[in-house]
């Protein structure tokens, strides 16, 4: 699990990264750390996979783009092969295995609704299975702010 220092760094870097010439120095000052330590710990957390990314998160829908949630009921014996095909599409931004007959859930991110529709059609053709599309009709809230835990969960798995 995370050290308290790393948890503090992660909570601090959730958003609002300063738009100044030396932003890591500004973050370091708030944490009472050195600039070098902030950069080194951030690099380590990315290398360890604790963080998947650090930088601007673009909301492409504001520029005419579209994110579409989609799902496929994949026969177990074909799961790995279908996964490889789906993930090979650059339009597929996220993909999760889930506990349901619809066991593969992914997000198609495209620069226009037409491109998203086209990508889903090409995925459907490539895997030879129906792809159900779940475009958002209303967004009530999107904010993924979870406090970084510094103790272990109770281990029931994902």
């Amino acid at each position: 699990m995370l050290t308290p220092d790393d948890a503090r760094l992660i909570d601090h870097l959730h958003g609002g990264f300063p738009l100044v010439d030396r932003p890591f120095a500004a973050v370091a000052e708030q944490l009472g750390w050195s600039e070098e330590r902030v950069i080194a710990r951030l690099q380590a957390l990315l290398d360890q996979g604790v963080l998947t990314r650090f930088g601007p998160l673009f909301q492409i829908e504001r520029a005419g783009g579209q994110f579409v949630l989609a799902a496929i009921a994949v026969p177990e014996e074909r799961f790995d092969a279908v996964n490889l095909i789906v993930n090979s599409f650059p339009e597929v931004a996220h993909n999760y295995r889930r506990t349901h007959t619809l066991n593969m859930w992914f997000v198609v991110a495209a620069e226009s609704p037409a491109q998203a529709t086209d990508a889903i059609a090409r995925i459907e053709e490539a895997v030879g299975l129906p792809v159900l599309a779940f475009p958002k009709e209303e967004e009530y809230f999107v904010e993924l702010r979870l406090p970084a835990l510094t103790h272990s969960g109770d281990g029931h798995g994902a």
Partner: protein, 159 residues
């Protein structure tokens, strides 16, 4: 709002992440042939416009100890979803909350709310809060737990 050539180049240069150097905006600017100040200025405008949601870290929930991640899905009365959706979104533990289309007959659910906990029991408790809130407006629900992250790259603009 359409992206111009500079916007596209800026997104392409930073969608994988900011360089981890003392002057990251200067480094991005050097790649694009502009000053760090120009990069900061445009990112600031994009934040104001909502084109950038935030500049920060994207954690892997599992590695933060949130090992139970459930997509809760609900069959909510269409006449009441506009009123109830925002209230579900405000509950603790709910991150993303959307109205999405049903796919009948197999998929009757029209409200999706992501739940995150340290155990499935914790997620079930969060779901019970939603059950209580929706009351008779809800005709059924399910929770689809994620058991593997198969891909998590975020947006990739094509060249």
């Amino acid at each position: 709002m359409a992206l111009d050539a500079f916007d596209r180049a800026l997104i392409a240069a930073t969608q994988g992440g900011l360089p981890l150097v003392a002057r990251p905006y200067e480094a991005v600017g050097a790649m694009l042939g502009v000053s760090g100040e120009r990069v900061r200025e445009r990112l600031g405008q994009m934040l104001d416009q909502g084109l950038v949601r935030r500049i920060g870290a994207v954690p892997n929930h599992y590695r933060l100890g949130y090992t139970a991640n459930g997509m809760s899905v609900w069959d909510v009365d269409d006449a009441r979803i506009a009123e109830l959706g925002p209230r579900v979104a405000e509950l603790a533990g709910v991150s993303h909350c959307y109205r999405r289309p049903r796919h009948l007959p197999g998929w009757p659910y029209n409200l999706f709310a992501m739940l995150h906990g340290t155990s499935r029991e914790a997620v079930e408790r969060q779901a019970q809060d939603i059950v209580a809130l929706l009351g008779e407006a809800c005709r059924g629900h399910d929770i689809l737990y994620s058991t593997a992250i198969l891909k998590k790259t975020g947006l990739r603009l094509k060249d």
